[in-house]
Amino acid sequence: MKVRVKLVSLLRDAVNGEGEVVVEINGEKARLRDVLEKLYSTYPRLKKLVEGLGERGLGVVYMVNGQGAELDAEVRDGDLVAILPPASGGCSFE
């Protein structure tokens, strides 16, 4: 299965400026955490950034197909995942 992952702001810089990257995983579905793990293995700098933001109280929000999602959410072939840092001028959006 293939999942698109949308990245914005400084997270996009951490994947070489690509606004959208494709993550491939074996099987027909997966948990969001598996998608992220795969993504982070390709882009360790992205992982470090996301963790660093969390430590500063700037935790990211995950979305699957435009809806807020937890790490154990189910993700299927063709889904669109987004990793969103806090908005500029704000703290959270869900």
Binding site: P85, A87, S88, S92
Partner: protein, 164 residues
Amino acid sequence: MSENKPIIRVGLSREPVSLDDVAARLARETNGFGAGSLVVFMGFVKGVVGGYKVYTLSYEAYEDVALKKMEEIAREEAAKWEKTYAIWLIHRIGSLKPGDPTIYVFVVAEPRHKAFELASRILDRVKHEVPIYKLEAREDGEYWILGDHTRVRRGEGLQEPEKR
């Protein structure tokens, strides 16, 4: 007189918006319901931040979610006060220069102090809840702006700017 159903509009725009056009339209469409108070907030790019000269401020949005969230905020706030006649939100995206408008909030509500209150609260919510991101290019470098106050130097992990 038909029943008041508030005008709700949201948008993301690469171009500036005409305050005159929107104001005239809202006044025309709402005066028949007894409205007479329009509050507008227009944000614009600061030419100086923290003592450093600003060159550009670039906005990007996670567009679908941003629009959905802006509409949700407008609807929720309109529902809180019966005499809300119009809420119109437009956020700019793209690369902007000092003095360029960045965001527009239009609220028609009665009485006038409610229109101020609504516009102020909606603005806070848009700034906090809508996935829109800024990159500030200024004389000491480029910074991603995150959350209320955090600036992160572009391309260097999570380094913050020096205070001037």
